[in-house]
Symmetry: C2
Subunit: 141 residues, 2 copies
DNA sequence: GCTTGAACCTCTACCTGCTGTAGCTTGTAA
DNA sequence: TTACAAGCTACAGCAGGTAGAGGTTCAAGC
């Protein structure tokens, strides 16, 4: 049986985070010693590793909760899982697109910032120039 | 003079968000009517648009606070601003790299998930397989 | 068997960047 | 004048944790 600190080290999770996952019902309440300390088994280790891996892949805790529910009831269709993973992929692709646009504008800003003092700096000018933004939300785009 | 709702519409910001920015000191306290309602001028509009634009570019409120401080003291070197923008670019690039790795793994997961029931599903298997994660943090990577 | 101190416990508050609600007041147009 | 949209303050809540206070337990060394 593992103490919470050992479980934390093995999964690369903070102790408080493990207790937090228990609190929100992602991890089951573990057994306790006579003195009240938590003790974990291998199944807890697996479940926590699953959660951490999914978090690293960008799944929200709610999506992970769904995945865990599905895997706790293994009779159901693979399509459910597929749907969750697809939704996740769409979100990731949208985030990438947004960040790439952002990177482009930041690079342009930096290319144009070659003056010496703040009053000449293109970065601030670019940020101050909000015509595009105004157009964006006024046209509902 | 603009009421808060007008300012909100013109900049695509929620009314509460404007009051929040004032509360944390990003926007100065505006003038008030006799009845206590906030009234804004064009400089407030500019400042808020600057903030919103920078937020859209992914700058944190702390970074924006730095940028505003710099532009309030225009004698300083452009290098400070350049440094902030560069830091932002690095962060964006790191996020993109991470998301691209993620997209790759999600696509692989989905390609391999062609079975019918949860117990056969590769998605859960992939998520359950934490050998890579364990290796990662045990080697300090 | 005893002592020490690292690790555990609960509880609470805090973080970012907002958003929403309750209950009340003000401004403005008809 | 009256109706009601829009304003006001104050506080709670979201995700996904993190940090600290103040107290208890476990386990290794002597």
């Amino acid at each position: 049986m593992l103490a919470i600190g050992t479980l934390a080290k093995r999964t690369g999770t903070k102790v408080q985070t493990i207790r937090y996952y228990e609190q929100i019902g992602l991890l089951p309440e573990p057994g306790r010693t006579e003195g009240g300390q938590r003790r974990y088994g291998d199944d807890d280790l697996d479940r926590l590793a699953f959660i951490r891996h999914a978090r690293q892949l960008g799944f929200t805790l709610e999506a992970i909760r769904e995945l865990l529910d599905l895997s706790d009831n293994p009779g159901r269709s693979c399509a459910d899982i597929d749907r969750i993973a697809h939704r996740q992929l769409k979100e990731v692709e949208a985030r990438i697109a947004r960040l790439e646009a952002l990177r482009k504008e930041l690079r342009r800003m930096l290319r144009e910032c070659s003056r010496d003092t703040v009053s000449d700096c293109r970065v601030l000018e670019v940020l101050r120039d909000h015509s595009a933004c105004l157009a964006d939300h006024e046209t509902g785009a």
